[in-house]
Symmetry: C2
Subunit: 282 residues, 2 copies
């Protein structure tokens, strides 16, 4: 697999005595690939010549994937790379990543990101009242429907942190993450991408509500029974399941996945699992 996630510092740019660069500056990745980041404007024909020379050399060196990171202001060079056989791997706001596969064998390039991660927050207080909102946009807008706070987890954010942040942003309520009670995978939910939606239970640490102006019409603590009786909740299979799970959890009859930081090699991460079953009970 060839990827830009890490790289050696072996700069392969070759400069001749007269100062003209004869190859693109390449950085090796640990999968036998080369990454080149174009940082200065260039004449397309000069770029084309450099690219051809570089590809020939990298082929001789037995390189596999060749990555070109093109910043937005140099997008005019993309056409040249496409003409040389490059295709698109992914893009972020300010750059396009192009890629080419040199070996004759099938490419083993890593997949592009395929999922977005979203959450719904189940926050219940000691009076069996649940924290609910009415949204200003989307499918339920203007219908008087009370829902759990929901949101999309930011890039680089843990699910448990994202759920705490979303509840705070939408309602002003401080919470502590308890468990992931369930999750759901759906496909083709935005563009052609998939969604992983995590139902999180959170414990309230404050109770005063201050609804977010931009997205939230209203927010309140609502008796759980009143929430579950809404026809909108009764009529949707997913919401019925979520309600059953949350009811069981409130009654102490359900165990979800708790979260702990767990490292592997040099990478930090968070493991979510059924800790009640695994660890000695408190």
């Amino acid at each position: 697999m060839s990827t830009c996630s890490s790289s050696s510092t072996n700069q392969m740019a070759a400069e001749e005595a007269n100062g003209s660069v004869t190859m693109l500056p390449g950085v090796e990745d640990k999968y036998g690939g080369v990454v080149t980041e174009i940082s200065h404007p260039m004449d397309p024909s000069a770029f084309s010549a450099l690219l051809r020379t570089s590809l020939s050399n990298w082929t001789l060196q037995g390189k596999k994937g060749v990555w070109i990171k093109l910043p937005r202001h140099l997008i005019g060079l993309a056409e040249t790379a496409v003409k040389e056989g490059f295709w698109f791997h992914h893009a972020e706001k300010d750059y396009l990543m192009l890629v080419y596969w040199l070996p004759k064998e099938d490419n083993t390039l890593p997949f592009n990101a395929s999922h977005r991660v979203s959450i719904a927050a189940f926050v219940i207080n000691h009076k069996k009242e649940v924290l609910v909102v009415q949204e200003k946009t989307g499918r339920t807008k203007g219908k008087g429907i009370w829902k759990f706070p929901t949101g999309v987890v930011n890039e680089g954010e843990y699910i448990h942190d994202g759920s705490v942040r979303e509840v705070k942003e939408e309602t002003g309520v401080d919470t502590e993450f308890v468990q992931v009670l369930a999750f759901r995978q759906t496909h083709k939910t935005f563009f052609e991408k998939s969604n992983l939606f995590f139902l999180c239970m959170l414990k309230p640490l404050s109770f005063e509500i201050s609804a977010q102006e931009s997205e939230i019409e209203a927010a309140q603590w609502m008796p759980w029974d009143e929430y579950t009786k809404q026809p909108f909740v009764q009529n949707h299979e997913l919401l019925r399941y979520m309600t059953e799970i949350c009811s069981a959890k409130t009654n102490g009859d359900y165990e979800g996945f708790t979260s702990i930081p767990v490292s592997e090699h040099d990478q930090q991460g968070n493991l979510y699992f059924n800790s009640l079953d695994l660890l000695p009970r408190h």
Copy 2:
């Protein structure tokens, strides 16, 4: 939120009597946005003029996000869009999606995909032997380390289907999905993206092993105790947790998340939850 995930059929291309198009063909999305897909080559200056006229008109119409889907062979037009203020939202192999936000308020455009989904498969037979492989590439290559089969879930594939497919591809063994036992979230694992890694338990339906030539050095059924005694397993926090969870599950002391199809509105999806706790026991 403005997205291309669904759209009305309201074509807004305006053609004059002489046949010349004075605006780009736009399709409204359900969030107040406009999507235009460029399908024919165009002179950059003609594209620039069309784009300006279209943006003026869409602004007057109160449109929000403007999306331009540019196929790879027309990437030469990207520079023009960037000069008009567009930035990149995402790219797939054959197209670049550019985006622009017309209103004065902060943009509420949907996030790009942020996660890749991968799996590890825990497959154990009635003799308490676990299905393990040695990989031809990656960190453990050539070290004689026996690992669970792992892999990346394809775009549009469910986690449970992906785990069954990966086991079949790597080892030739047919399996049935049992549960997600745990999952782990890590950041900046490839490019700047995150990974969600699901530990899946599978029940073997066949036992003969045929190792995949391209990726797998060797595969075998290995006594569970022998697997767990490997220093590689003992020395890594994540693998130790995974081993504890799998041992507890084998002894009937652990409950993970099972999977059932659950629909919401018109969308199908799969819900993963602790069904033993929720549903009447069999």
